[in-house]
């Protein structure tokens, strides 16, 4: 038994290290707001990733998804928000509802 333990332990560790999926490191995605528009929306966003809302416009905006988030975006400011859960978020600027987008966040 005593002689076998190290073998078992080594085998177990090897198994763990090779079969455990490597957790993807959280990433950042930028959404630029300018001239009364949300810019290109990123694809491949996962829960845990961060959205960098870069409001280059002269106006205060918001990114508001009912029941999910309401992010204040002061003029000329950058606001970073971590997406905690997966879903498809339809959002608008609550001040200028003609500005809208859909952000997909996967698991």
């Amino acid at each position: 038994m005593r002689r076998r333990m190290p073998v078992f332990a080594a085998a177990a560790w090897a198994l763990l290290l090779t079969s455990a999926p490597a957790a993807a490191a959280p990433r950042s995605f930028t959404i630029v707001i300018d001239k009364m528009k949300f810019g290109a929306l990123p694809a491949g966003v996962h829960a845990g990733d961060t959205i960098v809302w870069d409001n280059r416009d002269m106006f205060r905006h918001s990114a508001t998804a009912k029941g999910a988030f309401d992010i204040d975006l002061p003029a000329g400011k950058v606001v970073k928000v971590r997406m905690k859960r997966d879903d498809t978020f339809a959002f608008v600027c609550k001040y200028h509802p003609g500005m809208k987008g859909v952000l997909k966040v996967s698991k």
Partner: protein
């Protein structure tokens, strides 16, 4: 209301109807002056509403008008400075200012919901008139690309304001 509104609409239509067509349209210094004047008028109207109205939705709308129009006008001032352009007073700006003074005086005599309705109705009409002028005359006449771009962003913004005012107007009836 019935007495006041046609007068307000007529004043706006008369003022902006005086803008020449794109072919022999206003110059960039005149366009800058007209746009700045229109923005200032809306800021002043919003400040009047903030001083008089107790309706939360009307006050929220008025705050948005102050914030957005001041932002555009700050940008416009920075742009004319950068371009070394001096905004030029003109008959359209003067007619807009005259109409706004008359509207201000009429609204000053109203209180409560009568004021709210008249203010919001005027906002619908004023934005509609300014947006038509931007689209048909001011933007096509602008020569400088940066001025044109600012006017285009302004038009997108003011259309949002017009929709917001229309929705607000529907709730006040």
């Amino acid at each position: 209301m019935k007495f006041i509104l046609p007068a307000i609409v007529a004043a706006g239509a008369l003022a902006l109807g005086g803008v020449a067509t794109a072919a022999d349209g206003p110059t960039d210094p005149q366009i800058a002056h007209i746009a700045y004047t229109a923005g200032n008028i809306d800021v002043a109207a919003a400040k009047q509403a903030l001083a008089k109205s107790h309706n939360a939705a009307v006050r929220e709308f008025a705050s948005e008008m102050v914030r957005d129009h001041e932002a555009v006008n700050d940008k416009a001032l920075a742009l004319v400075k950068e371009l070394k352009v001096t905004p030029e007073d003109n008959s359209t700006s003067q007619a807009l200012t005259k109409g706004a003074a008359e509207t201000h005086d009429k609204l000053a005599k109203l209180d409560g919901s009568a004021f709210d309705k008249a203010y919001v109705a005027n906002e619908v009409d004023f934005h509609s008139t300014v947006n038509s002028a931007l689209q048909s005359t001011l933007i096509p006449s602008a020569h400088n690309d940066k001025l044109k771009s600012l006017l285009e962003t302004g038009l997108t913004l003011f259309r949002e304001h017009q929709m917001h005012a229309e929705h607000l107007q529907a709730t006040l009836k």
